[in-house]
């Protein structure tokens, strides 16, 4: 077992874990933060995406021990109290989700995308979501959602 | 050819309970067994003074503890939750779930801790420092009525929550009072019995204390609340309104409930706080009461003083009754607090055709735990006051107590009978119950034995009491939640039956009795039926839940109606399949057959399967087999009975010992006599307990002196003789089952007859009445005083 201490959504969380415990399982099983989902086992689908030290990462491809001392933001930590993050607003406004399973990862990737490029073109958005698979939406409303958030971010 | 087994009719049979396999294997899920991922635990910091002003609260040490998630003081809680609800039209002082300025009884919450586990939570509670300015304390209700030394609530002068509410003969609906008839009755009297009596304060004490798990889910904006409650639907209504949510957003679940006896209604401070904290933090939280907390924070029962005046002729004819009641309701009004003593007034006529009755009720605040419903809830007090007085009258007149009662009975042909206090008894045959009890007890021989024992110097006494009470409460006009009950019955596609009932039980065995009813109604095995209850998501409708002995008379009636509807629909499908007329169909032995053509029959499951996949759908019919019903009773039911006790008091120590207890109850038609017996046994134990064992006692400073099971006794198995039960059956015309209800009966008739037996035992010492509880010392003093 190994002791890890990870700051998750602003709160320091410590636990004894098996070294092989994946970060996604640490979040889901130990911290009960079940927003990050597991949709594949080959690091393609992106449903488990979180921000690790501020950048999007697939939490299924990182051991919890690797993240010892790091800061993690999950979908649960994105809203500011009752105020949704602009991307959460965008996904809601634009019907950017159906079954919702890919959504947390998709939103976290989009956060990274807009952090890097606050005014993306449609193609930038599509390319920037290459690490996330959605099976329901055909992506068009997701693109709209990111555009919606980008608009808001620019106004704000 | 296989022979279909013939299924016995089950209604009226002593069917073993279906609830028991899980409970006898430790597999029941009580609220403390509910575990949710990420659950936090609550603990309350409670006032240790009876009356005081909170000057400061220091929560810093608590907050600094590892594992403490949050601490909320009363002021912080007030931002998260409004005042606690009451259900009644009476004015009530505002009560906060957690006190904000003034505490008014020992045990009132002043802060709440949320922590990782219950151990840390308890540590944190102890780490909270509260500084109080002490205020004067009032404990005696008759003193409190003077307004001295202190007024608990500024808007309630003289501590009067309810001041001299009149009822009975000459009291108009407009509140106008005409004394002529009552005065005349007393003027005409040849004898008047007058006695101040105390029906003391009790602690309901279900063996499972209260407990709550609340789970507000952000994003879903739904609140699920598990509570050890008798009334999940009422709880849902309260939680929704208190949290500004819709009823559709709240799900209340009564899991296995380890007893209630009236004290587990809904809307308690702890339920409200747990819900509000979960809502604030967005995580599930649990609170489970400790027994020491329960004695302080769970509502108490009874605590009425009655001034009884009974006017009669020398032949025993009762002419009039005056009953002035002072109810000590403790520090606050709870859900039904104000209403409970009104039942004492409404039932003042007992089993008797008393031509003139005047009852008045005053409810008084004191620095004690609030009272509310406890098994019987007002009716035991009414019967106690009246039956003790009848006993005194008999003694005064030298009449046999049974004969005195018989002389005054409402006669069978007088039903429905409207009493002077405005209730309408549905049906009754009091002579029959009395006769059966006298016969079972061997009354005349018993009297002889008593006399013989006395002659031997033994202090043996005999007591008898009649009772009539209110069950199957009651039409919607009388209950703030509505007086109906609901049921939904579904024949599943495999032919098994699921039904829901709003009557959420806590030991009453509805899963068994209701299944018996449906088994008979549909002619299927008991094992093919499952009764669901206690979860508002599963059971769409419910009113009061279980209370007022209404499960069978109202809930059972709703089930019966819903079952009948499904059966009618099923018959249509069966008629199609069998090419027969619906009216000719017989549901029996797991088949639906055609009358007079025994070979033309379809298995129940086959008809069910067809209804869910109707290759051909009969005209005007929808597929499926599911129906619901709301049953609205036209009135309450009024079961009755007679209890007889034989008791001996130890001359040396004053210890009373119950030697025999004979009970004959008439609850109308019985579904499961085994379960009915259980209900009566439990009620007797609590009724006898009040007479002989139980009492909540406060010191003059408002400190409880019975704060644990070290000082508050509950009856043990060794306290009782074997109870001798019997029943007569006088059906009620008010519901299709003819069932009246039985949950509280035992508690009502037993107390006065035990006290009367004690008085009888000590009658040689010139005693006419003894106030409960019959502590050995109290009896010893009577014996001792007589010797002086």
């Amino acid at each position: 077992m190994a002791q890890v201490s990870i700051t998750v959504n602003g709160k320091r969380r410590s636990a004894d874990v098996e070294p092989r415990l994946l970060l996604v399982h640490f979040l889901r099983e130990h911290l009960n933060l079940t927003g990050a989902h597991v949709g594949c086992d080959t690091s393609q689908c992106g449903a488990c995406t979180v921000l690790l030290d501020g950048r999007s990462a697939k939490s299924c491809t990182i051991f919890a021990v690797q993240a010892d001392g790091a800061e993690v933001t999950t979908i649960e930590g994105l809203a500011d109290g009752d105020r949704l993050h602009p991307l959460q607003e965008g996904f809601w406004e634009e019907h950017g989700l159906q079954c919702g399973y890919c959504t947390p990862g998709m939103i976290m990737s989009a956060v990274n995308l807009l952090n890097d490029n606050p005014a993306p073109t449609e193609q930038d958005i599509r390319d920037g979501l290459d690490g996330n698979l959605c099976r329901c939406t055909g992506y068009q409303h997701i693109v709209n959602a990111v555009q919606h958030a980008a608009g808001r971010t620019r106004e704000g | 050819m296989t022979v279909t087994p013939v299924l016995p009719k089950l209604v009226g049979q002593r069917v073993k309970r279906r609830e028991d396999p899980r409970l006898i294997q430790g597999r029941g899920t009580y609220v403390d067994d509910v575990k949710l991922a990420g659950m936090l635990h609550l603990a309350f910091k409670r006032s240790d003074v009876a009356h005081g002003r909170i000057l400061s609260i220091d929560t810093s040490a608590a907050e600094a503890l590892d594992g403490v998630e949050a601490v909320f003081t009363g002021a912080q809680m007030a931002e998260m939750a409004g005042p606690l609800p009451t259900l009644l039209p009476f004015p009530a002082p505002e009560r906060r779930a957690v006190a904000t300025g003034v505490v008014r009884f020992v045990g009132e919450p002043v802060a709440v801790v949320v922590a990782r586990d219950r151990y840390v939570a308890r540590d944190a509670v102890d780490a909270i420092e509260v500084d109080y300015e002490p205020l004067p304390v009032v404990v005696d209700p008759e003193q409190a009525m003077t307004g001295e030394p202190v007024v608990l609530h500024a808007d309630f002068p003289h501590n009067l929550m309810l001041a001299s509410l009149p009822m009975g003969t000459g009291v108009g609906a407009d509140g106008l009072v005409d004394d002529t008839a009552v005065d005349q009755a007393f003027a005409d009297a040849e004898v008047v019995i007058s006695q101040r009596m105390i029906n003391q304060r009790l602690a309901p004490t279900p063996i499972e204390p209260r407990g709550v798990v609340a789970h507000y889910e952000p994003g879903k904006e739904t609140l699920t609340i598990w509570s050890s409650t008798q009334s999940p639907h009422l709880l849902r209504t309260f939680m929704a309104s208190m949290n500004g949510m819709g009823e559709d957003q709240v799900r209340a679940i009564a899991p296995e409930v380890g007893g209630g006896f009236g004290c587990k209604s809904a809307g308690s401070a702890e339920e409200c706080v747990t819900a509000a904290v979960s809502r604030r933090l967005g995580v599930p939280v649990k609170w489970v009461e400790e027994r020491s907390e329960a004695f302080l924070a769970t509502n108490h029962g009874r605590d009425l003083i009655g001034y009884v005046d009974l006017a009669a002729r020398r032949d025993g004819t009762v002419l009039g009754l005056k009953l002035r009641i002072v109810a000590d309701v403790g520090a606050y009004n709870m859900i039904f607090t104000a209403a409970v003593p009104t039942s004492t007034m409404t039932m003042a006529s007992g089993n008797y055709a008393i031509p003139a009755i005047r009852a008045t009720l005053t409810e008084v605040f004191t620095n004690k735990t609030p009272t509310d419903a406890y098994r019987g809830a007002g009716r035991p007090e009414g019967i106690y006051f009246l039956e003790r007085a009848m006993d005194m009258l008999a003694r005064e007149l030298g009449m046999d107590p049974a004969e005195l009662r018989r002389k005054n009975f409402i006669r069978p042909e007088q039903f429905p009978h409207a009493t002077q206090t405005g209730v309408v008894y549905d049906s009754g045959d009091y002579d029959k119950a009395l006769d059966r009890a006298l016969e079972n007890a061997g009354w005349e021989q018993l009297k002889a034995e008593r006399d013989a024992a006395r002659a031997d110097g033994r202090l043996v006494g005999l007591g008898l009491s009649m009772y009539v009470e209110v069950c199957g409460v009651g039409p919607s006009s009388a209950l703030p939640m509505g007086g109906w009950e609901h049921s939904q019955v579904t024949v599943e596609r495999d032919g098994r039956i699921s039904a829901t009932t709003g009557a959420s039980p806590h030991g009453q065995g509805n899963e068994t009795t209701f299944a018996q009813m449906l088994a008979d109604q549909f002619g299927v095995p008991l094992e093919h039926i499952r009764i669901h209850h206690g979860d508002t998501a599963v059971v769409k409708q419910g009113s009061l839940g279980t209370g007022g002995s209404r499960s069978q008379a109202v809930g059972g009636a709703a089930l019966h109606l819903a079952g009948g509807r499904v059966k009618t629909k099923m018959a249509k499908f069966a008629a199609l399949l069998l090419e027969a007329h619906e009216a000719d169909l017989v549901f029996e032995n797991g088949r639906i057959g055609v009358k007079g053509a025994p070979s033309a029959a379809k298995p129940f499951a086959e008809v069910a399967a067809y209804a869910y996949r109707p290759i051909r759908l009969p005209e005007g019919l929808e597929p499926g087999l599911s129906e619901e019903a709301f049953f609205e009773p036209a009135n309450n039911t009024y079961p009755f009975g007679c209890n007889i006790a034989l008791l001996e008091v130890d001359r040396d120590t004053g210890e009373p010992r119950l030697l025999r207890l004979v009970a004959v109850d008439d609850a109308g038609r019985l579904i499961n006599p085994l379960i009915v017996e259980g209900q009566v046994h439990g009620g007797l134990a609590q009724g006898i307990g009040q007479a002989l064992i139980e009492e909540v006692v406060y010191g003059g400073d408002g400190q409880p002196l019975t704060g644990s099971l070290m000082d508050y006794a509950l009856p043990r198995a060794s306290d009782f003789p074997r109870f001798e039960l019997d029943a007569t059956v006088t059906p009620t015309p008010l519901n299709p089952l003819g069932a009246k209800g039985i949950g509280e009966a035992g508690t009502i008739g037993s107390t006065p007859c035990v006290v009367s037996a004690a008085v009888d035992a000590l009658s040689g010492f010139g005693v006419r009445h003894i106030d409960m509880l019959l502590r050995p010392e109290k009896l010893w003093r009577i014996i001792h005083g007589a010797r002086d």
């Binding site: 070294p19 080959t42 690091s43 491809t61 051991f63 021990v65 690797q66 990274n112 690490g131 | -």
Partner: protein, 286 residues
Amino acid sequence: MIPTAFDYARATSLDDAIARLQAAGGAGKLLAGGHSLVPLMKLRLSEPAVLIDIGHIPDLAGIRESDGVVEIGANTRHHDVATSALLRERCPVVADTAAVIGDPQVRNRGTLGGSLAHADPAADYPAAMLAVDADLHLKGPGGWRVVKARDFFQGVFTVDLAADEILAKVTFAASRASAYAKLHQRASRFAIVGVAAALETGGGIIRTARVGLTGAASSPSRLAGVEAALAGQPATAAAAAAAARGAGDGVSELNADIHGSAEYRRAMIPVFTRRALEAALARAGG
């Protein structure tokens, strides 16, 4: 989804990591970003007994240039390479390559050193390293050792790296006229064929050309024929096209799977060679 159990240690320095590798006696694996290794471990295709995390060793990440030589630390993440202003300006083929590896999340975590040491035959970086003729700096118990990229890649998942050695950094001469072109495998985003080209031009003439190939065959290689054909040719698209035409001819041990037969891969080598060369030439500018 679930790897086998292992012991984990965080190395504090290169020497610490080497000592731990030695202590593991061949059962140890280095972990940097983990984006080559962890997916294999999750499928139990790799079951190391000991993982030595070099991801937190100071100074192992970073991009700098001095005297025309670019140095990239082994722990430098793909995203940082892809967005490096220095590389985009001075040696765009490397940034190009990093920018089309996997997907954004992979690029945020994956490292140059990890990718090179892992040497997946369909990985992108090897082609670029071949094209810039990179020096790979390896440190072992005996000290530093420098291996040319063309010598480093030896076969499928096989490189010139001892069990107790660590790839610490790469250095190469900046090449402005350089580019990477790739045929994506649609599922994995790996390269079916990836070609990196780095040209030295002057006076309208291609003086030297280095062309690295990945994805097509069992291990990455230089396209010597193309390089030779280009040398001395005018720096034009036509010349590039002509040189690319037979690019696939000499490539051996071609891969084949459902995403592309050997024949198709061979045919794609000239296509992407031409595209890489054209893009490189477009950057040659003056």
